[in-house]
C-alpha cells in the first residue's frame, strides 16, 4: 500500500494545484494536520467515484478561502456573496478535482464515472479511517482531501504503470 499512498500524494498535489490555479489563481502547498487545524469553520463536500472502483472523495476547506475565491471569481464585494455561491464553488472544485485525479491515476483508456458532488458535514463523515488523507494550505487556509475506497487493492491494480 506504500506505493498507493505515494502515488496518491503525488498526483493529488499536482491536480489540486492545477485546479485551484485555474479556478482562482491560487497555488497550494503540502502541509500537516497541525497546519490545517483552524478555529474557523470548514465547509465539506463529498462525491463517489462509481467506476471502475467504488471510492468516496471528500474535500474540506475553510469558509474564508471559499469566500475569497467567490470574490475573485465573481468580482463581488464580501457583502454580496450569497450562501449558494459558496456551496456551489466547493462542489465544483471537488467535481473538477475528482475528474482530474482519476484521469491522472488511471491509464489513458480506462473510463471512470463520478456521482454529483454533495455537501457534507463532519457528522456524516465515515467513521473508518480513510485510506488516504492529505493536508494542504492555499493562501494560508486549510484544504483537506480524504479518500475512502472499498477495495484499495483493486485501485492499486488499476494505477498507471
Amino acid at each position: 500500500m506504500e506505493r498507493l499512498q505515494a502515488v496518491l500524494q503525488e498526483k493529488l498535489t499536482e491536480v489540486l494545484d492545477e485546479t485551484f490555479g485555474s479556478m482562482a489563481f491560487l497555488g497550494v502547498c503540502e502541509a500537516s494536520a497541525a497546519d490545517c487545524a483552524t478555529a474557523g469553520s470548514l465547509r465539506e463536500a463529498q462525491l463517489l467515484v462509481t467506476e471502475p472502483v467504488l471510492m468516496e472523495l471528500h474535500l474540506a476547506t475553510s469558509e474564508a478561502l471559499l469566500r475569497q475565491m467567490v470574490e475573485t471569481l465573481y468580482n463581488f464585494d464580501a457583502d454580496q456573496i450569497e450562501e449558494h455561491l459558496i456551496n456551489d464553488l466547493l462542489a465544483e472544485i471537488l467535481n473538477t478535482l475528482a475528474g482530474r485525479l482519476m484521469t491522472a491515476l488511471l491509464p489513458e483508456q480506462q473510463t471512470f464515472a463520478l456521482s454529483l458532488p454533495e455537501l457534507a458535514s463532519e457528522e456524516e463523515r465515515l467513521d473508518d479511517k480513510p485510506l488516504f488523507e492529505a493536508f494542504y494550505l492555499a493562501d494560508d487556509e486549510p484544504v483537506i482531501v480524504r479518500l475512502q475506497a472499498s477495495g484499495p487493492q483493486a485501485l492499486l491494480n488499476l494505477l498507471q504503470p
Binding site: 479556478m23 465573481y74 455561491l85 465544483e92 482530474r100 463520478l114
Partner: protein, 123 residues
C-alpha cells in the same frame, strides 16, 4: 444580431468560469446565455437563437449526453455546434458525445487558451 453562446452547466460557478474564459480568450460573443441542465437548455433553444453551445456532461435532470440525443432530433437546432466541457475520463463518453454530434470537448480545469483552441475554429 451578434454572436450568442449558450453555456449549460448545473454549477453557477462553472458557468461563470466559462463566461470569464471566453472573454479572456478574446472570443467575442455579444451575449452569453445560461441553462442549468439539458432540459432547461432545450426549452431556451425553442425561443432563442444561438451560434454555439458549451455543455457539461454530468448534470441532474437531463445530462449532456441526453441533451445531445434530443437536440439531434430537432431540425431547428440540430446543426448548432456543441462543445462538451467535462471532468469525465476515458474515450467512451467522449466518443459517445461525438457520435451524437458534439464538435469537440474541453476538460476541466481549462485555460482560456484551451477554450480558444477548440472554439476558435467553430465560430
Amino acid at each position: 444580431m451578434g454572436k450568442r453562446v449558450l453555456v449549460i452547466d448545473d454549477s453557477s460557478t462553472m458557468r461563470k468560469i466559462v463566461s470569464r474564459s471566453l472573454r479572456q480568450a478574446g472570443l467575442e460573443f455579444d451575449e452569453i446565455l445560461e441553462a442549468g441542465d439539458g432540459q432547461e437548455a432545450l426549452s431556451l433553444l425553442a425561443k432563442e437563437k444561438v451560434d454555439l453551445i458549451l455543455s457539461d456532461i454530468n448534470m441532474p435532470n437531463m445530462d449532456g449526453i441526453e441533451f445531445l440525443r434530443q437536440k439531434k432530433e430537432i431540425a431547428a437546432i440540430k446543426d448548432i455546434p456543441v462543445v462538451m466541457i467535462t471532468t469525465e475520463g476515458g474515450a467512451d463518453i467522449i466518443g459517445e458525445a461525438k457520435s451524437l454530434g458534439a464538435a469537440g470537448n474541453v476538460k476541466k480545469p481549462f485555460t482560456p487558451d484551451m477554450i480558444n483552441e477548440v472554439i476558435g475554429a467553430l465560430i
